[in-house]
């Protein structure tokens, strides 16, 4: 009997056996369904998290350096760097004057303060102190009104630009421009409202109120942790720009030659690298745990196949008596296990796809073809691996003994 025909016959026989024991096959399949659902959902969640992170990270800007006191990566001991001097608002001007590669520089500091307009409150709003160049560097678009000017920053004017969500919150009917709101008990005039920025992994950018940095430090933050976002000119190489900035800041802070930098120039890549490290751990732990679910499903298959073989000992005997070879019997039972698993895999994939529609609301994820193919392959392999031992046992039965079974 040739192999193709054996497969054809095996599929027919297994379909027969599976439908003859609907409840049992169904329960066994359920084990695989759960396994496949958890594994593929985990794979999707991991991929979604990564994409979401990448999207957020791109908001940091690939062409932006963050000059600040501390590095994002903890490379040196805390006690070595804790006495570093703070940056000041004025440092931005020096950097901008000296640097060839710098397109714009944003001064940054923030605080969390209550915001009020008449009887409407927004507690825990994110108050960001910026300078006039921040809108460009931070890729913020003002929808209504305008961003504040250099003069307003220099004069510490009490003006503010609202994020889209907080504007909706305080002014449900619109008309925010020109109104006076209270931030931390002080009056500020609304001069602009930002376009919706969208989701960001770390914080809601639409829940922020931007005020001149000078005002923030004057009214609210006594010892500000000032840092700078430096946007590099298009066409400038990031490496060159970084070296140039390093030299400028060293000179500005009077770091003696041969001494270590007493500041850090951070960039997007560092976060990505860190995330990749953590992401890999999360992914492997997550897949391992969900893999256990699939493993349990596989054990279920093995169990049921042992039962199936025991139950059909007589049938195996009859088939062997009239000429079925070991291989034929082996293939028959392997196919049965594989078909059950494949069925489970397909159902599981369907369920996971349904669930992914729900997950989409939180994570930018989709059932990718690679996940689908992987799930099908995994279920097939599970079936063959779990089915092998029972099938092998069936194949090796002696026809005389098998026929005697009742």
């Amino acid at each position: 009997m040739n192999l193709a025909r054996e497969f054809g016959e095996g599929i027919k026989i297994s379909a027969h056996a599976i439908f003859a024991n609907k409840l049992r096959s169904g329960l066994t399949t359920l084990g695989i369904v759960i396994g496949i659902v958890t594994v593929s959902l985990m794979a999707m969640a991991i991929e979604g998290l990564r994409q979401s992170f990448m999207r957020s990270i791109s908001a940091l800007g690939a062409d932006v350096f963050y000059i600040e006191k501390y590095p994002w990566e903890r490379t040196s001991a805390w006690w070595k760097i804790r006495n570093r001097r703070d940056f000041t608002i004025g440092d931005a001007k020096i950097i901008q004057r000296e640097s060839v590669h710098t397109l714009a520089i944003s001064v940054e500091n923030s605080a969390t303060l209550p915001v009020r307009y008449k009887d409407r409150n927004a507690s825990g709003a994110w108050i960001v102190g910026n300078n006039e160049q921040s809108a460009l560097v931070r890729q913020l678009n003002v929808k209504q009104g305008r961003f504040f000017s250099e003069a307003e920053v220099a004069g510490s004017r009490p003006v503010c630009v609202l994020g889209a969500d907080i504007a909706d919150n305080l002014f449900p009917q619109g008309g925010a421009i020109g109104e006076r709101i209270q931030i931390g008990g002080k009056n500020f005039d609304v001069i602009g409202v930002n376009e919706k920025f969208g989701k960001f992994l770390f914080a809601n950018m639409d829940n922020q109120v931007i005020i001149p940095i000078t005002r923030l430090t004057a009214d609210f933050v006594r010892d500000p942790y000032i840092f700078f976002m430096v946007k590099i000119r298009p066409g400038s190489a990031m490496e060159d720009a970084k070296e140039e900035l390093r030299g400028i800041v060293r000179k500005m802070r009077r770091v003696a030659p041969g001494m270590e930098d007493d500041f850090a120039i951070n960039q997007q890549d560092m976060v990505i690298k860190q995330f990749d490290k953590v992401g890999k751990i999360i992914a492997s732990v997550g897949l391992f745990i969900t893999g256990l679910a699939l493993f349990v499903g596989g054990i279920g298959i093995m169990n049921i196949m042992f039962v199936s073989v025991a139950e059909r000992t007589k049938e195996i005997g009859i088939r062997k008596t009239i000429g079925a070879k070991r291989r034929t019997i082996l293939i028959q039972f392997l196919i049965e296990a594989a078909v059950i698993c494949l069925l489970g895999g397909l159902i599981g994939l369907g369920v996971a796809w349904g669930a992914s529609v729900g997950i989409k609301k939180f994570l930018p994820t989709e059932m990718s073809p690679s996940v689908a193919v992987l799930a099908i392959l995994v279920s097939l392999v599970t079936g063959i691996v779990a089915g092998f031992l029972p099938a092998y046992r069936a194949a090796r039965m002696s026809p005389v003994d098998a026929l005697r079974a009742e």
Binding site: M1, K314, I318, R319, R326, S398, L403
Partner: protein, 235 residues
């Protein structure tokens, strides 16, 4: 020409420390076209002999030549092929696949012989018709009477045109009337030149055969010709 030739054949079972001789030094020759009954009480070794004749089991020592080939040293897979090609089985308990209808049961040996589906179905239909079951092809075993089931089994046994029809207590589960019918069918098959070996403990059934081989304690106790052969032995 000898279809079957057993030479000093023994079959030993090891039951713990005890060694049981189911067959001791049995030598036997059966011609093509013979109708032989193998008789003996239970425990005599006749089932072991039938298993070996049917290539379901291998002898511990000795030689078994079937149709000119030594099958005593064959492995599992080769034996499966020999069973498929050379031997048609009829059992006391019919041994049909319970979930398959008559036609599928009959065509099963042809599936393992790699015959095309169309030819397979055609041959199976003819075989069922020849045992008088043309109108029962799509009935499952549990929808058939005992006699009809045994006819399906006979049709299945003959479908591959085997060298031997090997029947193990073929009437054991049938009432005497249907039993007689099945034995009549065997006689007809014998007349047509089929080699038939019936294993039984019933004298009445054995009487249908031309030759009776009596087994006792693993030995051939008697080998007698009860009536002249009706078949035209063609070699």
């Amino acid at each position: 020409m000898n279809l079957i030739r057993l030479q000093n054949l023994s079959r030993v079972y090891q039951m713990g420390a005890e060694t049981i001789y189911a067959l001791r030094d049995v030598s036997l020759e059966i011609q093509r076209g013979e109708y032989v009954a193998i008789m003996g009480p239970s425990g005599s070794g006749k089932s072991t002999l039938m298993n070996i004749l049917g290539c379901l089991d291998s002898p511990s020592s000795g030689k078994y030549e079937l149709n000119g080939t030594d099958v005593s040293e064959m492995d599992d897979n080769d034996l499966a092929e020999v069973r498929n090609r050379e031997i048609g089985f009829v059992f006391q308990t019919f041994n049909l696949l319970p979930r398959s209808h008559a036609l599928h049961n009959v065509e099963l040996p042809l599936i393992y012989a790699s015959i095309d589906a169309d030819e397979r179905k055609q041959l199976a239909r003819e075989a069922l018709a020849s045992v008088g079951l043309a109108d029962r092809m799509h009935h499952r075993p549990n929808e058939l009477s005992g006699g009809q089931r045994q006819r399906v089994a006979v049709a299945r046994a003959l479908i591959n045109k085997p060298s031997i029809l090997l029947a193990d207590e073929p009437t054991g589960n049938l009432d005497s009337k249907t039993g007689t019918e099945i034995m009549a069918l065997f006689e007809e098959l014998s007349r047509k030149g089929n080699t038939i070996i019936v294993v039984t403990h019933e004298e009445d059934i054995a009487r249908h055969a031309v030759r009776i081989v009596r087994i006792r304690d693993g030995l051939i106790a008697a080998d007698e010709r009860v009536r002249p052969s009706e078949a035209t032995v063609s070699v």
